[in-house]
Amino acid sequence: MEQFIAGTLTLVSSPLSMLVFACGLIGGLLFGAIPGINMLTLGAIVLPFSGMLSAADAIMFYSVLYCSGTYGGAVTAILFNIPGSPENAPTAFDGYPMTQQGLAGKAIGAAVLCSSLGGTCSALLMMGATPLIADWAVRNFSSPEIFALVFFGIAVASSVGARTLWKGWLSVGFGLMIATIGLDPVAGIQRYDFGFTYLLAGIHFIPMILGFFAVSEIFVQAERRVRGRFDMPKFSTHFPSLAEFWRLKVAVVRSVLVGFFAGVLPGIGVTLAAFMSYNEAVRWSKTPEKFGKGHLEGVVASETANNAATGAAMIPLLALGLPGGAVTAMMVGVFQIHDIEPGPLVFVNSSDLVWVVFAAMFFANICILGLGYVETRTVLHLLRIPFQFLAPAILLLATIGAYAVRNLVMDVVVMFAAGIIAYLMRRSGYSVAGIVLGLILGSIGEENFAQGMQMVGYDWGEFFTRPIVAVLVFGGVATILTNIYRELSGKRKGVEV
């Protein structure tokens, strides 16, 4: 507690530190909302100048940026079906249908509150037991366990948003196939590149997500308009009531735990956290058929978990020097600019710095609540813009986002192609959520499966002697069999996103 107070006093006693804190917070909220030009872009821009700041201020900027940027992408995901980053994609599954139902205020309100709550809980856990948790994670979770976790997640959520179970699986399968394009993640063998260098690098998931969500949605809405069935989304700034939140208390606690757990695994980060939490929400729900249709719990699960993962991702970074994602990898660079190596010695040699960062992340998550409230009250008015003006603006924003990822025109082409494919698939009852799930979890799962098999000398028996692997794979298989039974017996209700 004394260290936390000291860190807080250091933060508030310096005007420059407060300015850096504010820049990280607001910069994350703004940049996080723009796909392609997300918080990573801001981080990269600032990186060369971080040497001019003190080590504590520089690291603090990135940690605050991480918290607010992770939340920032939720707003565009909910309002326009444009996730600012992959970790906000599950938020769009239910957030955007809520907007269409005139419940945008509730969806964004839930996202603000849950992001803040998830991040704050995570920051508290981070302060309490960073070295212990980091040590536990690396000893018990490696590639085989992460693959099993991904398999379990895909098995649970494979049918979300599809008209039938089979179409759900085909959607996931399509996403998994796209994930295999390019160099294989272990041996570097070229697959499905057809001689094109572009394909050799694999299909980047941001243009795909923009195409699947934003572009296909524009097509769907345009079709409705042509057919005279288009309704402007109802404008509403009603936040969720306390009673609604209280009903979701179990989902919030579960999402904090899932998000924190996924975030603490080195090399995984916030994206898996959001998807896993969404999957768990579906699995534990008594009404799983409501997911993908505008269910508040879907937004709560995704946004609680992705922010809970931010504090957790700092644990392997600070305790072991192992970054969990792109932003934490940048932080390693910042540490090195200041001649500090993140790892166990940071707690000995730079204890003051660590506690300034802890305090900053704690207060950043609190501030998200206030700033998010103000942001919500203002950005919701964008829904008043007529479709004929809003649609081109969304397409322009998505095009910029797709191009900005790697400055490649082909990424823009891929985005529009994905939009057309997703439009046709949605008309046929396939699941866009399933494709994105397969695409993102597929690449994580494949890499960890291959590494896991190498670890056990390609011995299947030894693979399953690892208790966590055995439990998760068994759980996944049981879920698949249960889903088949429910589908064949007519107990499963199909939905469409």
Partner: protein, 333 residues
């Protein structure tokens, strides 16, 4: 083997001479026709934060300090560095776009994954980092404590001992490790991790038995006492690792492949601009800040600096070794 020895000779011998030559570079050089009139773009074929991202950023600072030239990094990761390489070749050869690349460009050409030869289609401006590899274990490991006991352990394990390294059949790491396996008549399962974090976490958490890496990349774990090197892939012990056995100590006679990182420009760039860029980058290398950065990454243990000629020699000799090795491994015909 003679060829491989030539590479090692080049790495150490030339490195001792070339820094002296670099010191003779003029302090200032007139801009050829006003070039450059605007900031340059540096294509970096890997993401920020890794070894390439770090050396690119340090060199950008060095060139700015030495020549006053602004350079903007443009990260183009993917395809084992080939996406950045292809993107660079598509840019105008006017000197306004430069390239950072590593030995993957050499091995990529040798493996026929690209038709861009890094010493013939490109002009190396400067080679900025050349480093060796080591094999690491956990410091608190009890099953084996040094190279000898690790070899015994690996032989007893019958192919189930594991070592973490970087992805890619035919990569520098994999070829070196295969040659070690052959010499000791053992089979160590190589587990490829593309990202550094899971790679280091695997050793730290006891998920693999050993790690193949370069010392600058795991400096934090060495300082904290988590990892310890048990073999240096050099024939002689470098002073910074005087207590770690070298290849000579354990009877390894092959010459190890090195990791190198350099900066390039298209061969069709106007010669006067090439000359100016050669001066700017070589001066950038010799700034105090860049040398300090390199030292912090153990890059002073092998003389890293190569001018254009020295870089081309290093690349060409290494290319021959890769091609011969790939043929022997059946990776190329």
């Amino acid at each position: 083997m003679k060829l491989a020895k030539a590479v090692i000779g080049l790495v150490f011998g030339a490195g001792l001479v070339l820094p002296a030559l670099a010191a003779n570079l003029p302090d200032k050089m007139e801009k050829p026709g006003g070039f450059p009139e605007r900031p340059l773009t540096m294509i970096v074929p890997y993401g920020p934060g890794g070894g390439s991202g770090q050396v690119a950023r340090a060199m950008i600072d060095g060139v700015k300090e030495a020549a006053g030239i602004d350079i903007t990094p443009d990260y183009k990761p993917g395809g084992g560095g080939l996406v950045g390489l292809k993107t660079y070749m598509a840019a105008p050869a006017d000197g306004y776009t430069v390239l950072q690349h590593i030995d993957d460009a050499t091995s990529g050409f040798a493996a026929k994954r690209t038709d861009v030869h890094p010493a013939k289609d490109l002009i190396p401006l400067v080679m900025a980092q050349i480093t060796f590899s080591q094999i690491y274990i956990r410091s608190n490991e009890t099953r084996f404590t040094d190279w000898k006991s690790f070899v015994e352990f690996a032989k007893k394990a019958g192919g189930k001992a594991t070592i973490a390294n970087v992805a890619g059949e035919g990569s520098m790491e994999r070829i070196n490790m295969n040659l070690i396996d052959q010499h000791f008549k053992m089979k160590v399962q190589q587990v490829s991790f593309d990202q550094p974090s899971p790679r280091y976490a695997a050793l730290k958490g006891g998920q693999v038995d050993a790690l193949f890496e370069q010392p600058g990349d795991v400096k934090g774990f060495l300082d904290s006492g988590d990892f310890k090197p048990i073999l240096t892939l050099l024939h002689e012990r470098p002073a910074a690792f005087a207590n770690v056995p070298s290849m000579k100590d354990v009877g390894l006679t092959f010459n190890p492949l090195m990791r190198y990182r350099g900066f390039y420009v298209n061969k069709n760039t106007p010669p006067e601009r090439v000359k100016y860029l050669q001066w700017a980058f070589q001066k950038g290398y010799h700034t105090q800040n860049f040398l300090k950065f390199n030292k912090s990454k153990f890059m002073d243990l092998i003389p890293s600096f190569r001018d254009t000629e020295g870089s081309a020699k290093l690349i060409n000799e290494t290319m021959d070794v890769y091609i011969k090795t790939y043929k022997a491994m059946g990776l190329v015909k």
